[in-house]
Amino acid sequence: MGCEISPELAQGALETLQSMQDPNGGFGGGNRQVPHLADTYAAVMALALLESEDALGIVDREKMLGWLIRMKQSDGSFCMHEDGEVDVRGTYCALVIASLLNIMTPEVTEGCAEFIAKCQTWEGGISLYPGVEAHGGYTLCGLAALEILGRSDILDLKRLSRWMILRQLPFEGGFNGRANKLVDGCYSYWQGGSFVLLQKALKRSQAQDYLFDREALQRYVLACCQARDRRGGLRDKPGKSSDLYHTMYVLCGLSLAQHYVGVEPEKIVSSTESVYSVPVRMMQWGAILKGLNVLGHRSNLVKPIHPVYAIPFSPLAKAVKYFYSLPPLAETLH
C-alpha cells in the first residue's frame, strides 16, 4: 500500500514461505503442515508482493496444479485441504492461485461457476455453500471467482445488488456481513470489493460511480477503525482491538472506496475460451483518476488495489507477466 519492503525482509519472507511449500504442491500454515487453500492463496499473493523473479520462481506450478485437482470435488467446489471442509472460500482461493500462476485448466475450472450459482440464496447474497445464510465474505469469494472465469452473468445480479445495498448501514456508514448484524470494518473489503466487482458485472461506467456510499465508508474506516492504542493497526469497531486480519481488509476497503477501480463497459473483453483471455481480462482492471474521491486530508490516500487479488497493480502486473511468459499447462479453459 505504499510501504517499502527492504531486501532483508524480502529475503526473509521468501525463505519463510519456501519452508511452507509442500513437496507435493501447495503451501501450509507452517512447515510440515498439510497444504491449505487459504494459506496457499496468502503465500502466493505475498510472493507476488515481493516483486522479484526469485520469489515467484519458488512456486512449483506443476505440483500446485496437481494438488488443486486433488482438492477439486465432483460438484465443482474445492476442499480447503485434504480431509477438510468444502466451501466457496476454496473456489475463490483456487481460482486466484490458478489464474495468477497460469495453471488454469479445464479440470480446475469445470463446474466452478455452477457451484457458486447454487450458493446464491433466497436473499440474493452468496453463502458458504448451498443452504446456509448469505454472507459478505462469501459473496466476495463467489463474485471474484466468477470474475476470473468471466461468468458473473450466471448470478441473479438484481437480487444480489438488492441484498448488497442493504449491507451498508445508514448511520454507521460501514458494512455488516449479514442482515441484522452489526457493522464490522473487515466488510469494508468483502462488501466494498463486491460492489467494485458488481460494477463490471452490471456494465456500469465510472461516470455512474459505484452504487454504495464511498464517503460514508471512508468516514467509518477513518473515524472508527483506527486503534488508538500504541500498537496501532485497524480494527472491527470501537472497543475491539486491532489485528492483522482487520488491518489488511479495512485498508483494502479504504483503498477501494477512495479510488474508482474498474473497466469501462465498452472495453470489457468477454472472451473466456483461451487461457490467455485470463490475464487480459484481469489486467483490464485499473484505477481511473477521474473517479478519485478521498475523504479528509490527502495524506489519507492509499494505493489502488485490484478487487479480485487485493494487492496493488504493479506487483500484480509483474507476477502476471512472469507466469504468463511460462508455458501454460493447458491451452483452453473449458
Binding site: 526473509g12 519463510t16 510440515r32 503442515q33 449479514r178 442482515a179
Partner: protein
C-alpha cells in the same frame, strides 16, 4: 528450556523428561535466521508441536499420538494439520466415538467459531451413526436415537448462547439433512424467530426447512408463510428479515402471489391506522413495492405501464425520503424498470 509445570497440585514434566517419549526424536520447526513473523509460542506448546511433527513424519498410530493431538488442539484449535492427523488416528485406533464427541463438545463451548472443530464433529457423528441406518424410521424414532437427541440438544444450547452463530446453524443444517430430521425443524425455527424476530439466521433456516432438500413449495405452504410473515412484519415493521424472506420465497416459488396476495395485504397494512406510520416510514416497505410492481410489469402486459409508474414512484420515495443514504442505488434501480 522447557520448564516443569505445576498445575492444580500435579507436576507435569516436559515430554523430553518423560520415559514414554524417550524413543521419539522431536522435530523442530525449521527456522532460518531470516524467518519473518515468528509466532511467540509458549515453550511447552512448542515442545508438543515438535513431538507431534515427529509422530506425523513417521505416521505413528497410537494412543499417545491421540493424546498429543488433544493437547495441541486444545491450545490451538485452528491447527488444521493436527485435526487431519487426529481424524486418521480416531479412525484407525477405533477409539470410542462417544468419548471423542464429548471431547469435541467441550471444545465447541470454548471455541464456537472454529471451522475445523465443526467439521470434525460431523465426521465423528457420522462414524457413530451411519446415516443409512435411520432409513425407514419415523421422525419420532430418529430424534429418540441418543446421538441425534444429544446433538439437537447441544445445538439448541449453542444457539441459545449465540443465536446467530454461523457455524452452529450450518452444522444444524448438516445434521437435519444427513439424518432426515426435517419434520421437527420448522417448530424449532419458529421458536427462534419468536425469541428474536430479527434473527436472520433463523429466517434462513426457515427457508431451508420449508424446502427440505427439494426445490418446490406447495400452494398451502406459500399461503401459510405469507400469513406468518405478515404477522412478524406487524411486530417490527422496520426489520429487513421478514420482508426479504417473503419476497425471496415468492420470487422463487410463486411470483404471481407477489402482486396477487402480498401487495393487497401490505398496502392494507400501510393504510391501517395502527401500522400506518411505521410501515410508511420503513424503507423495506417501499423496497418491497418496487420488487412487487416490477414483477407485475413483467407478468401482466395490460398492467405494465401502470406498474412501472408505481415502481418508479416507490423508488422516488426511497431516494428522496425513506432511504437517503442509498439514493444512488434507488436511482439506478429506477433506470432498470
Amino acid at each position: 528450556m522447557v520448564q516443569v509445570i505445576e498445575s492444580e497440585g500435579v507436576t507435569i514434566l516436559p515430554l523430553s523428561q518423560q520415559d514414554e517419549w524417550k524413543d521419539v526424536v522431536p522435530l523442530a520447526q525449521e527456522e532460518t535466521a531470516t524467518m519473518i513473523c515468528p509466532i511467540a509460542y509458549a515453550e511447552d506448546y512448542k515442545e508438543k508441536m515438535d513431538y507431534l511433527r515427529a509422530l506425523m513424519a513417521k505416521g505413528e498410530v497410537s494412543q499417545r499420538a491421540l493424546k498429543l493431538t488433544s493437547d495441541v488442539i486444545e491450545e490451538n484449535p485452528g491447527h488444521y494439520t493436527a485435526w487431519v492427523y487426529r481424524k486418521r488416528l480416531v479412525h484407525e485406533l477405533e477409539t470410542s466415538m462417544e468419548d471423542e464427541l464429548l471431547w469435541v463438545a467441550e471444545l465447541s463451548e470454548m471455541q464456537p467459531k472454529n471451522y475445523q472443530l465443526w467439521h470434525h464433529r460431523e465426521a465423528v457423528v457420522e462414524m457413530l451413526l451411519d446415516p443409512q441406518s435411520v432409513q425407514g424410521m419415523s421422525q419420532d424414532e430418529r430424534v429418540a436415537i441418543p446421538v441425534l437427541r444429544r446433538e439437537l440438544g447441544f445445538l439448541a444450547e449453542s444457539l441459545d448462547e449465540e443465536s446467530k452463530n454461523f457455524h452452529a446453524w450450518a452444522y444444524r443444517q448438516w445434521l437435519v439433512h444427513t439424518y432426515g430430521l426435517w419434520d421437527q425443524e420448522l417448530a424449532f425455527v419458529s421458536v427462534k424467530i419468536d425469541e428474536d424476530v430479527r434473527n436472520n439466521s433463523a429466517w434462513n433456516q426457515r427457508y431451508f426447512s420449508l424446502i427440505a432438500g427439494g426445490s418446490s413449495l406447495s400452494a398451502e405452504v406459500v399461503e401459510h408463510e405469507l400469513a406468518y410473515t405478515l404477522e412478524k412484519i406487524k411486530l417490527a415493521p422496520n426489520n429487513e428479515s421478514p420482508w426479504s424472506f417473503i419476497v425471496g420465497l415468492l420470487l422463487r416459488h410463486a411470483p404471481a402471489e407477489l402482486y396477487q396476495s402480498l401487495l393487497p395485504q401490505i398496502t392494507a397494512l400501510a393504510a391501517d391506522e395502527e401500522y400506518l406510520s411505521a410501515i410508511n416510514g420503513t424503507p423495506f416497505y417501499w423496497a418491497t413495492l418496487v420488487d412487487i410492481y416490477e414483477q407485475q410489469a413483467k407478468d401482466v402486459p395490460e398492467k405494465q405501464k401502470e406498474a412501472i409508474e408505481l415502481a418508479s414512484s416507490a423508488c422516488d420515495v426511497l431516494a428522496t425520503e425513506c432511504d437517503l443514504p442509498r439514493q444512488k442505488y434507488w436511482r439506478f434501480r429506477q433506470t432498470q424498470l
